[in-house]
């Protein structure tokens, strides 16, 4: 009985079509050989992919997003590892509050974070700088990193650590030689999820980026607000393929379903 009937399968097919339709549309339009938005049926080409090279603004923005995601994901992971060890390994007064604080950016609308960072950074004199944007990104990607590292810390039996400590290893040695290698998949998964989240972030970043520090999604947003052309479709197609490649990496490192469904 635990089989899907024809009605269920039709529903499922339509649902999958709905999910894939806009992504397929983006990919198809990007291969047109016309100067305007159209399907590639009457002539396909790579001209709009070649055209990206004539827009240094987008290429600079891509590198900007890449550096930003690398730096902020690394910083967030560096902060998340000790925090996850504290929350996962100790029962201490204020533990629930600590967890709530680290997860709170998930509850705050990105627009509210954006305007708050805008005001704060201009007050302390780092408005529109790379440092400012990177710090803002650390805050918003921290919950994702923490959840994945925490999941691997709580799932870890303490036997090996206890044995090492009994045999005279100092806490730092226990961490570096025993704990760290064991939670490495969680750390790598958390870093990669943070990287992707930072790379894609647009709503908060739009407030804190200056023209010199504009990230790729922000530049794409401003472009789309003006005009929708095959150029933006070809850039989006490259992004889709890049994300799929990262998803495969994430799947190998940690298991994509575990990352997405959020179970440790």
């Amino acid at each position: 009985m635990r089989k899907n009937g024809p009605i269920e399968l039709i529903f499922h097919t339509l649902f999958i079509l709905f999910i894939l339709a806009p992504l397929v549309a983006v990919c198809l339009v990007s291969f047109t050989d016309k100067g305007y938005l159209s399907m590639p049926w009457n002539g396909a080409s790579f001209r709009w992919f070649e055209a990206i090279l004539d827009y240094p603004g987008f290429i600079d923005a891509f590198w900007m997003s890449l550096y930003l995601a690398l730096v902020s994901a690394a910083l967030a992971t560096a902060v998340a590892i000790p925090a996850a060890l504290a929350i996962g390994r100790y029962r201490f007064p204020g533990r629930d509050l600590t967890t709530a604080i680290f997860l709170s950016p998930l509850m705050i609308p990105a627009v509210v974070l954006g305007v708050s960072f805008l005001r704060f950074f201009s007050q302390i004199g780092i408005g529109g700088t790379f440092v400012g944007i990177a710090l803002a990104h650390v805050i918003i990607i921290m919950p994702f990193t923490l959840r994945l590292v925490l999941a691997s810390v709580t799932g870890l039996p303490r036997d090996a650590e206890d044995a090492a400590a009994t045999l005279g290893a100092r806490p730092w040695v226990v961490f570096r030689r025993i704990t760290l290698p064991l939670i490495l998949p969680g750390i790598a998964g958390g870093w990669l999820l943070a990287f992707i989240t930072s790379f894609d972030e647009v709503t908060m970043t739009i407030f804190v980026a200056s023209p010199e520090t504009m990230t790729l999604p922000v530049r794409m947003y401003h472009h789309i607000a003006q005009t929708i052309d095959p150029l933006i479709a070809s850039i989006s197609t490259l992004l889709i393929f890049m994300t799929v490649a990262l998803m495969v990496a994430l799947d190998r490192l940690y298991g994509l379903d575990r990352v997405l469904v959020g179970k440790g």
Partner: protein
């Protein structure tokens, strides 16, 4: 040694907490203060204490319209995500591997693709020169181009697509906890398929549906990129209005008041929802 061990969790979480206090606490506090400042188009932002910004937002019918539209759209998107996402999660859970894993990744994977790209896809599909319009015209079903751009329907459509993975995740997670033998037992005892769904499956996945709805509602209410691209200037929502106050009108205090109201509404909805779910479904979470 005992005190050192007691201090260790604080030392470990300390750097993060300091970071969050300075980089999250201080900025939010500044925005709260800013929302009580006044604004003058010639003199700019004037420090002080006035509730004029809140009075303006809460009494002006223009802002009522925007807040009403935002929460109306959030309700519609949540409703459609329940109607489409819940059956899909159930169908998915009854599939055999490898199809189950493949389709789960197809449905959840788009979460990792930039929301700009996904919204662009809908703009390409529903615009007047879009694929849907061209196809309908080619089939002779409509005269002239049809467009859902700059309409509420288009915005809801794109937002459902952007947010439905969250609903599938939530329901999927609660479906995993169901013991399939209970369903089989009910069937053996003569219950119809519909009865099994209504009496056995639905009550058990209700917490998942509710928490999925909460996530979808909160994220729709504060969505920016999709409403901005699909709705444009004509259909403003709270997030795009805040953006305009900050970066076009430059009336930061008023923008700050709108942002604080959005934050407060968000937190109240999440908190009361959590309380409701905990009270009602405390047993399920055990």
């Amino acid at each position: 040694m005992a005190t050192a061990a007691k201090l260790r969790p604080y030392l470990l979480s300390g750097p993060g907490l300091i970071l969050f206090a300075t980089l999250l606490g201080a900025p939010l506090l500044l925005t709260l203060m800013l929302s009580f400042y006044s604004f003058d188009f010639t003199a700019g932002i004037q420090p002080g204490f006035t509730i004029a910004n809140y009075v303006e937002v809460l009494s002006d019918s223009y802002f009522h319209l925007i807040f009403g539209r935002t929460f109306g759209i959030a309700l519609l998107v949540t409703l459609f995500c329940v109607l489409l996402g819940v059956p899909e999660a159930y169908i998915l859970s009854r599939m055999a591997n490898p199809w189950k894993s493949i389709f789960l990744i197809v449905i959840l994977g788009p979460l990792l693709i930039s929301v700009i790209v996904r919204t662009l896809g809908w703009a390409l599909l529903i615009g007047s020169k879009g694929i849907i319009s061209e196809t309908l015209q080619a089939l002779g079903l409509v005269e002239g181009p049809v467009s859902l751009m700059f309409t509420t329907a288009g915005m809801v459509l794109a937002l459902v697509h952007v947010l439905i993975p969250f609903m599938v995740i939530a329901v999927w997670a609660s479906l995993q906890k169901i013991d399939p033998q209970v369903e089989d037992a009910a069937l053996t005892l003569g219950a119809s398929k519909a009865t099994v769904l209504r009496r056995i499956v639905l009550p058990q996945i209700m917490p998942g549906i509710l928490s999925g709805s909460l996530i979808v509602f909160a994220l729709t209410a504060s969505a920016f990129a999709t409403p901005s691209i699909i709705g444009g200037r004509r259909l403003k929502v709270v997030a795009t209005t805040t953006y305009d106050e900050y970066l076009n009108t430059l009336n930061w205090p008023l923008g700050a008041a709108i942002a604080i109201l959005l934050l407060v509404a968000n937190v109240i909805i999440i908190m009361s929802y959590n309380r409701f779910i905990e009270r009602r479904y405390a047993k399920v979470f055990e």
